[in-house]
Amino acid sequence: MTTTLAPSLPPTASPVTRRGRRLSKKTVGGGVIGVLGLVDIVGFGLEARSGDARLGLTLAGASVRLSPLKLPPGPTAIVAGMITLVLAGLWLRADLGKAARRAVIVGSGVLFMLSFLCWASAGKSMSLVGLLQSSVDRSIPIVLGALAGCLCERAGVVNIAIEGQLLFGAFAGAMVASASHSLYLGLLAAALAGALLGLILAVFAIRYAVNQIVVGVVLNVLATGLTGYLYDRVLVKYQNTLNAPAVFSRISIPLLSKIPILGPVLFDSSIFLYLTYAILIAVQVGLFRTRWGLRVRAVGEHPVAAETVGIRVLGVRYCNVMLGGLVAGIGGAYLTIGSVGPFGKNVSSGKGFIALAAVIFGRWTPIGAMFGALLFGFADAVQNILSVLGTSIPSDFLLMVPYVATIVVVAGMVGRVRPPKADGQPYVKQ
């Protein structure tokens, strides 16, 4: 080996040249961070327009008001860039522990975003809290989709059909809420619709051992086609009765929602955000602290071993795939009765696939997947705000950032990525 690596970070498949020399992961990682720093300085610092960037820290109507953060874009970006370069140097020179490496990555990312936002809003004002709030809201369906992914994949079933489950949930939620005039009935219907798609996936993937990717793709096509058809034929015709649901209103948590910055972002949202908290905690604790979770993970890692100690492998898989569908269905409901109201064709717009990426980004842990989903939500929110501010960078580039980040994670730049061992493999009893 040509470089030293921290013991917790064994080198995973690295690029190998024919000569037998290879680029170490450490060098690549340091290089990426260094490039971020250079972009900070050259791209955002030296190219900065005049005028301070005003970043708003409170929303209109808040009881505690903070004055907006006024930052000179040029100097801010240059300082951020220099700090990032120092971090890159640390990464390359020092043997950082796991926590330190994460801190460096997060730090350089935050500094990059700060210089970018300052550069973009030079001479204008932008609500930072608004941006964060919008990020959190946008990531709700992605988090729920990703939790669905965790539930399925930890039990060894790859769920590509999250997208379809979101769509089914969105459709059922809007239609039932509209017809019954009860949002909660709509939410229930959405969850059941997601679970139904989960059941179909389970039957084909588990009972008939069909390739799970193929079934998933087919289910997505089915969901798009079916909801699209029903939208054209039914919802458009009976627009006022079947596709005019109300929307869940915001619930402010007393006291907590008054906390500056954090309050409006985390504790002043619709029931979906609080449901997401609950499900996130339940899945995380459930998978890693309970008997149920131990069995689920055993089934996903080594189903034969699970079978030999009396665990019903297929039962666990059925149960988890349907639970996953249920959670994704709730995520789908957010897309209609949690935000815009009526169903529109293909409202999920790829969020299910983004959720899959978030699962991988989070290395198949619920908490990690949540951070992945937040990253995607943030990118979505930023590109939305950019079109308002009007910058020279096409907003599509920003949408790419989380995917690049996912590739970096998957490439093993930040430790080892290891999916559940039996993920995607049908289990057939002897």
Binding site: M1, R19, T290, L294, A298, H302, Q430
Partner: protein
């Protein structure tokens, strides 16, 4: 517990895996089940453990019939099993693996929420481990433990479920000689505490050493019950069905020039860990270099690197002076290298292809097998017919798919193909694993012939018997390094110690020729 099996029969399609097997295991007894691979031992034990259902026959425990439809039933009846391939989740801790399926949960008054009681699990492991002398750290991750310790975890798992009859399926196959001794000590202590043990193996010396009674199984039938005092020859003959010559005849080596020269070779495994660490050695023409070592010490990766299936990170190797480091597999094979991979079904054969097609896999694109863009099927068939005769491949026809051949005959197909080219170097990895004794004889004879004709042979085996019978020089691999180079008269004890890492301090003299 007294266990009786009566008339157990199990068919898989037209194959009868178990044919009216009767077996009685007395309490407090070590009962050995001796048979070749594929004789039906594992099927029988899977039936006993509820993993497979028999077509006929019954199981009696202490005189009363039982019916196991799943492992849970067998566990409840006091039967524990240590599988040949461990049934442990690698990313779980020892304690988690031990309690899996039988977990205790914490309770808060009436509420439990199903939260795992990890402290209790840890205590349970420690209790059993001290009681039977099975030292193990309950918090260690299983994937970080050596195989010998993993096996202990399996035993603890069974004991914690109150198993009084323990089935050990080929327990010594993956162990170093030292670990095997530890296991035998544990087996004796279990026997002393009244447990019954079923000991499945095909190794004669272990049976003679440990068993109280020996039941020999051949082709799904019980062919005899013998006492441990029976001799090697008696046991082998009963197991195979005819008299067997256990070691091939071999004249002294006539060494020629260096054929394979390996210098500082470093190779990674699939997970990116360094599997081969700067290994150097030479093999001369007319010499068999045996690589001994417990499985998973880098032998697989070494062989794969030498045939271009795995990138070489550092170092180089050459065949007859030509540097072939990181060259394409095709180029390496065409330079006169024959390769018998360790997993014949996954790597050696395309099992869906016919025998004839498999025999032509390395040369289908060359004359006379191919004519322009087309294959010359007649030439292929004629050649295949000759090879089948020459290598004694027992197959219905050359058009039979390779998958329907027995393990030994499949291996003969691979050997026939590789030895039908002109080769200067043969790399044979576990050439007789899972092969019947008759075919072992044949393959061994062929390997010796190749050597006598002046080729170099790299033989990788985890079986000390095989290494001792064939090698002209023995290299021991441990954790990716060649830790010792020995002449074939080295004692088994010394080899055993070296394989367990006792020779790590000593660096093998690179490229040392036999004394």
């Amino acid at each position: 517990m007294k266990l009786e099996l009566r008339g157990i029969t199990k068919r898989f399609g037209s194959v009868v895996a178990n044919d009216h097997i009767d077996l009685t295991v007395e309490p407090g007894q070590i009962h050995a089940l001796l048979g070749e691979n594929g004789a039906g031992k594992s099927t029988l034990m899977n039936i006993l453990y509820g993993l497979t259902r028999p077509d006929e026959g019954e199981i009696l425990i202490d005189g009363s019939p039982v019916d196991f439809s799943r492992p849970k039933d067998a566990i409840a009846a006091g039967i524990g099993m240590v599988h040949q391939h461990f049934m442990l989740v690698p990313v779980f801790t020892v304690a988690e693996n031990v309690v899996l399926g039988d977990e205790r949960t914490r309770s808060f008054g009436r509420l439990g929420f199903g939260l795992l009681d990890r402290r209790r699990a840890r205590q349970d492991v420690l209790r059993v481990s001290t009681q039977f002398g099975l030292a193990v750290d309950p918090d260690a991750l299983v994937e970080n433990l050596p195989v010998g310790i993993q096996q202990r975890v399996e035993i603890i798992k069974a004991l914690l479920r109150d198993a009084t009859l323990l089935i050990l399926d080929e327990p010594t196959a993956v162990l170093t000689p030292g670990e095997t001794e530890d296991l035998f000590a544990v087996m004796r202590s279990l026997k002393a505490s009244g447990h019954s043990l079923v000991f499945i193996t095909h190794k004669l010396n272990e049976v003679q050493k440990m068993a109280d009674t020996i039941t020999v199984i051949r082709q799904g039938k019980v062919v005899g019950t013998m006492a441990p005092t029976a001799s090697d020859e008696e046991l082998a003959a009963r197991m195979v069905g005819r008299a067997v010559r256990l070691a091939p005849e071999k004249a002294a080596a006539k060494l020629g020039d260096v054929v394979l020269s390996v210098e500082g070779l470093t190779v990674l495994d699939d997970l990116g860990n360094t599997a081969v660490k700067g290994v150097s050695f030479d093999i001369k023409a007319g010499e068999i270099l045996g690589i001994a070592g417990v499985q998973g010490n880098g032998q697989t990766e070494l062989c794969e690197a030498l045939v271009g299936l795995r990138p070489v990170i550092d170092g180089r190797f050459s065949v007859r002076g030509r540097d072939l480091t990181n060259r394409a597999t095709r180029e390496i094979l065409h330079s006169g290298v024959g390769y018998v991979p360790e997993d014949r079904q996954a790597e050696g054969l395309v099992t869906e292809f016919t025998v004839a097609e498999n025999l032509a896999l390395d040369r289908y694109d060359q004359a006379p097998y191919s004519k322009g863009l087309a294959l010359d099927l007649d030439v292929m068939d004629t050649a295949a017919g000759e090879q089948v005769k020459q290598f004694d491949i027992r197959t219905e026809s050359i058009r039979t798919p390779a998958s329907s051949l027995s393990g030994g005959n499949q291996q003969k197909v691979v050997v026939a193909r590789e030895l039908s080219r002109t080769i200067g170097l043969l790399i044979a990895s576990q050439p007789t694993r899972g092969v019947d004794v008759g075919s072992i004889e044949f393959v061994h004879r062929r390997i010796v012939e190749v050597r006598n004709q002046g080729s170099a042979v790299l033989l990788v085996s985890t079986e000390l018997d095989e290494i001792a019978a064939l090698a002209d020089r023995i290299a021991v691999m441990y954790e990716g390094e060649v830790v010792a180079m020995r002449s074939p008269d080295v004692t088994r004890e010394e080899l055993g110690l070296l394989m367990a890492g006792a020779g790590t301090g000593e660096k093998a003299a690179p490229a040392g020729a036999p004394a």
